[in-house]
Amino acid sequence: MPKLTLEELAKVREQARKKTHLREGGEVRAKVTVHMGTCGIAAGARTIMSTLLSEIESRDVRDVQVTNSGCAGLCSREPMITVELAGEAPVKYVDLNPDKMKTIFAEHVLGGKIVAKYALGIGSEKTDFPKE
């Protein structure tokens, strides 16, 4: 490891923050849930997840939370995701592939506009912490 200069220290800080910003809390713009039941995984949900994570990383987005859930109950339309913008109703997307995922990420998650052609509908089962 070469010795750092002042500028390099700032660079190391920025690089390191990319890896640790998840821990810092703060406002979340959107929550994306990838449905990863056996059916989802078999249909390619893993690729959807890694596409999503790499989009977040390459664009250095720090306020989108990624979570997953089990089977959403509509196994024939997997892979599926649910996009929940802060303060808005969740939207479900079906029959996904990496390209569709990228479009949804750019237009809906970041742009705030629902991609109607890939959407199943508005509304979702609750993925929050159970009440009791």
Binding site: M1, P2, K3, L4, T5, L6, L9, V12, R13, Q15, A16, R17, K18, K19, T20, L22, R23, E24, G25, V28, T33, M36, R46, T47, M49, S50, T51, L53, S54, I56, E57, Q65, V66, T67, N68, S69, G70, T127, F129, P130, E132
Partner: protein
């Protein structure tokens, strides 16, 4: 594609506490189990396991905090992990069974920041608590580590640094509360008489029973201490530093050595730091664990390879310290505060706290309290807030009796002073002291004479023996207290204690002897009636001093509940119990040696103590 991102694009970070308390509760086994289950489910590119320093809520360890979301899991066992990984990390359903449920409540509190223990805390010295892996310098840098150092080295003059520390109002966190900026200025202005440079020391010789603040800081965030020291070195013009740590703190020593090596590799320590031409390096000195070595002159003697004994001051270490050179010595927590003051400014720091005591203080909260752990609170917070809001009150529905602050050098503050705001002045007016931050909570079952005796037995053993008042005085006070506890005390003993204690305080050589009488003086001041009960009535009101107890057996309970189970008779060492199976038992007081075994073994509460 996943391979490319294996290093970075995780969606969850699992922050496993690896402070000493959680480690001894097998948190490394939890970490291994987590990693194994995560691999089993193919989540290794999505979920990252991080080991952090002490989270603070030691009572509930081993601990795991899930980020983002700040979900707090506690008292985990390896058995819980497969279920947890499958439910929460694979299926996205947090497991409420493993969350924290406050005493007397039924619903768990999932989010860490909603838990009472954490709510009232303000983190400065512990700012990176639970958020970084202490063995990875990058994680510290991500949390602004070495940013203040860079500022101090490139933008500030030594005078400006000292002015900033002075204006912040920071006072030494090791015990005496000396203004830090003033001390720095003294070292800055001191001229080395033997031609060498100046030294800088971090005092990590934490020896109070029940105190673990410094250990936790060194284990959880060693870089904050190193950074503080480099800033101090620039301010006073020191080129060499020593980190004095007890050898009983192996994890702290290990993490410090890793941190020092990483800082050197990055050029943040050693020659020409950050290309600024300023050079400073630190070595770790492991102490053998003598309490008196926390005293600065004894600590310096110990580093020099001499017997760990204090010497008269002046000259103060600021004039003539390590190897006779001007030496700046501050405590671990003080050093950890320094970077934040430089980074955020003295006016921000001094906005926290009271008129005379600025900032925060870390306390290790132990004893008869529900939430044992490490807390950092703003100065001026009341004892009530610490004990009831953060500490969750006294377990088992018992009454709060007193709190001991400042370790063996401190005093006991009684229950009716529970609204006392905590700062250096209020604690010393109450006869106690801030000390390094030990806080031992006592309930109604505590005998205050016995407590004073316990602390005196500690200081008596730890007295180095160099000066007579401490060597002989602590021994005599201990003997008097022992007499009183055994029912052989007289009224004259109280007078003797009252005249002896102040003269030891006045005449002892160092802080150890000067403060050793404090537990006696405060218990006499606030709990005099307990001393009198021991002396006049030959009774211990809390039933702790067994020699003063009378043990009897309630024959009705013995026969009806226990059917004369005979366990007490078989365990009695002095054949003092009469009776046989299925008959009521009784104690022959002439033979009874008051060992209390019958009380301990009786399952039916038939043995009574008065």
């Amino acid at each position: 594609m996943p391979e490319k991102h294996a290093e970075t694009a995780h969606r969850l970070h699992l922050m496993v506490c690896a402070g000493t308390a959680c480690v001894s509760n097998h948190s490394f086994a939890i970490k291994d189990a987590l990693e194994k289950e995560i691999r089993k489910h193919g989540l290794e590119n999505e979920v990252l396991v991080v080991t952090t320093g002490c989270n603070g809520f030691c009572e509930r360890g081993p601990l795991l905090v899930v980020q983002p979301g700040n979900i707090f899991y506690q008292q985990l066992t390896v058995k819980d992990i497969p279920h947890l990984v499958e439910e929460h990390f694979l299926k996205g359903r947090p497991v409420s069974r493993l969350m924290y449920t406050p005493p007397k409540e039924k619903k768990p509190v999932p989010v860490l920041s909603d838990i009472d223990f954490f709510k009232k805390q303000v983190l400065i010295a512990l700012r990176n608590r639970g958020l970084i892996d202490p063995e990875k310098i990058e994680e510290s840098i991500a949390r602004d580590g070495y940013k203040a150092m860079a500022k101090a080295l490139t933008e500030m003059t030594p005078a400006q640094i000292i002015m900033e520390i002075k204006q912040s109002g920071l006072r030494g966190r090791g015990g005496a509360g000396f203004p830090t900026g003033l001390k720095w200025e003294m070292v800055r202005n001191a001229v080395s008489t033997n031609g060498g440079g100046k030294y800088l020391i971090c005092n990590g010789d934490e020896g109070d029973p029940g105190a673990f603040m410094d250990r936790s800081i060194l284990e959880a965030d060693p870089h904050s201490v190193i950074e503080g020291m480099v800033i101090g070195a620039k301010a006073v013009g020191a080129t060499e530093g020593v980190l004095y740590v007890r050898n009983e703190y192996p994890l702290a020593v290990k993490r410090l050595q890793i941190a020092l090596a990483q800082a050197r590799e990055y050029g943040l320590l050693g020659e020409d730091i950050l290309g600024t031409k300023f050079s400073f390096d630190i070595k770790v000195h492991r102490g053998a664990g003598a309490f008196v070595c926390g005293e600065e002159t004894a600590l310096i003697a110990s580093i020099e390879g001499r017997l760990g004994e204090p010497r008269p001051r002046p000259p103060y270490p600021a004039q003539s310290g390590l190897y006779g050179r001007p030496t700046l010595i501050n405590n671990v927590e003080t050093w950890a505060n320094v970077p934040v003051i430089i980074d955020r400014g003295s006016s921000w720091f001094s906005s926290i706290g009271t008129e005379t005591s600025k900032g925060t203080k870390v306390f290790s909260l132990v004893g008869k309290i529900n939430n044992t752990g490490l807390v950092e609170v703003p100065m001026g917070i009341t004892l009530r807030e610490i004990i009831y809001d953060i500490g969750g009150g006294i377990p088992g529905g018992k009454a709060f009796k007193a709190v001991q602050t400042g370790g063996p050098s401190g005093g006991c503050i009684p229950a009716d002073m529970i609204d006392l705001p905590i700062d250096y002045e209020s604690l010393s007016q109450a006869g106690s002291m801030m000390g390094s931050g030990g806080m031992v909570v006592m309930d109604e079952d505590t005998c205050m004479v016995d407590v004073a005796r316990y602390f005196l037995s500690f200081t008596k053993d730890e007295s180095c023996g160099k000066c007579t008042p401490c060597r002989e005085g602590t021994k005599i006070m201990f003997d008097i207290l022992t007499r009183i506890c055994e029912g052989r005390g007289t009224e004259a003993d109280l007078e003797l204690l009252e005249s002896l204690a102040p003269s030891i305080k006045d005449s002892a050589l160092c802080g150890l002897g000067k403060t050793a009488p404090n537990p006696v003086l405060t218990t006499l001041r606030y709990f005099r009636s307990e001393y009198e009960a021991h002396i006049r009535d030959k009774k211990c009101p809390a039933h702790v001093c067994r020699q003063l107890n009378t043990y009897t057996i309630d024959e009705k309970i013995c026969l009806e509940a226990g059917h004369g189970c005979d366990v007490c008779r078989r365990n009695c060492a002095s054949d003092a119990i009469r009776g046989e199976k299925n008959t009521a038992h009784s104690i022959n007081q002439d033979k009874c040696i008051k060992c209390g075994v019958c009380l301990d073994v009786c399952k039916f509460h038939a043995v009574k103590v008065e």
